[in-house]
Symmetry: C2
Amino acid sequence: MSRTAVIAGSGRLPAAVAGALDAPLVCALDGFSPEGLAVDMVFRVERLVPFFHALEDAGVTTVTFAGAVQRPRLDPALFDAGTAQLVPRLMGAMAQGDDATLRAVIGLFEEAGFAVEGTARIAPALVPGAGVLCGTISDRDEADATRAAAIVQALGAVDVGQGCVVAQGLCLAVEALPGTDAMLAGLATLDARLRPDPARGRGLFYKAPKPGQDLRVDLPTLGPDTVARVAEAGLGGIVWEAGGVICLDRAGMIAAASDAGLFLWAR
Amino acid sequence: MSRTAVIAGSGRLPAAVAGALDAPLVCALDGFSPEGLAVDMVFRVERLVPFFHALEDAGVTTVTFAGAVQRPRLDPALFDAGTAQLVPRLMGAMAQGDDATLRAVIGLFEEAGFAVEGTARIAPALVPGAGVLCGTISDRDEADATRAAAIVQALGAVDVGQGCVVAQGLCLAVEALPGTDAMLAGLATLDARLRPDPARGRGLFYKAPKPGQDLRVDLPTLGPDTVARVAEAGLGGIVWEAGGVICLDRAGMIAAASDAGLFLWAR
């Protein structure tokens, strides 16, 4: 028997990923609950080695990560002997930041004998390949998308954000710690004199994974809410890196974008 | 006789620069008026060569640029024969953006026989060299400044902004087209849950010229208003690249920062 475990964090993504699988084992980190999805097994980082054994016992050969987790607090009293030996490695990775921590966690699962697969492989419908999903892309939009991709690439090198807004070649906003929603809300309330005339090109929101990140975990996510915020910000559409961004509820996104006259482009 | 001409745009900087000179000739681009400074000569881009001759006749050997100008509209009917020959070069530069345009303009003045000097040389009191102007800098602030400088460096490579905000190593905001004030206003109204606990480090606003820019023109400018906005944004201070940023009213900035408990550091 070969079974896939969904290692679930919070939000709606775990249910969407589990829905693409035949009889997945749903596992959740203690303290994080996926929305609309029953959890089969709860685990703690302090008892990772016993959790690996439990996965084996359940016939799991492949794992996939889905949903947001914040860095958990660790209780020294809970460690088993096997997991305790992993602590120096985990701590070293955590000190280097979130990317290093995720790489370390993936490495531990792989060394325990599990295949780690990304959302694009497990649930390809959630990660659109290249193509225009709705609307039309002008030459101006193409040029703006090229510039936006270069900006996000440069930002990624200094570990800042995964998105920006470009209109008529001009960078109107860059995503930082507060995130996409805060950036788009700021644009929605920006004095019109501080942005170029929308009649000559409304501009676009661009999203991509960090350059060099492991595409099996922590992909940026778009959804119908994003479409609504982009419309409120007065932009013409959303462009993202094909194969590198999750679209939660693609049909809902297309419906919302079509209603609002926006384009959606997996580039 | 050797005289310096101040080529003035709008704002308060031209008066500050002129105040540091002995009997400057104040020249303004038609349509732009410096604040609090009488203009001796108005010129138009279409008649740049006759303007060069008028400068020579007035005994000018050195020029310095001060104050903001937007790209002027050109009236083809106004060109003289000499300036008309410069048009292809100016148009080519304008098509490449503001930096290229400024480099081309500097080149034209130099080829006409004028020395072009920056504000730091003409009015050194306006461009602080390295040092802490007020407040104290913690190790946390030093680390944040290092990270902020790296971010602005990376942004400059894609021609975005000249500033950012970093707190506890995290990038809270990046300056884009709307400018410093819009960025700081956005932070001032940001949901407190979207930024790190200020009790552990309030963070700083960092400002620098674009990497590789000609430091003789278009330096970023700070003033007492900037200090007020940084305080409203809940930050701990302002750090900037020593020798690369103009401080309009340094005494006023120090007074405002001291009142608000902020540090000012030319790094």
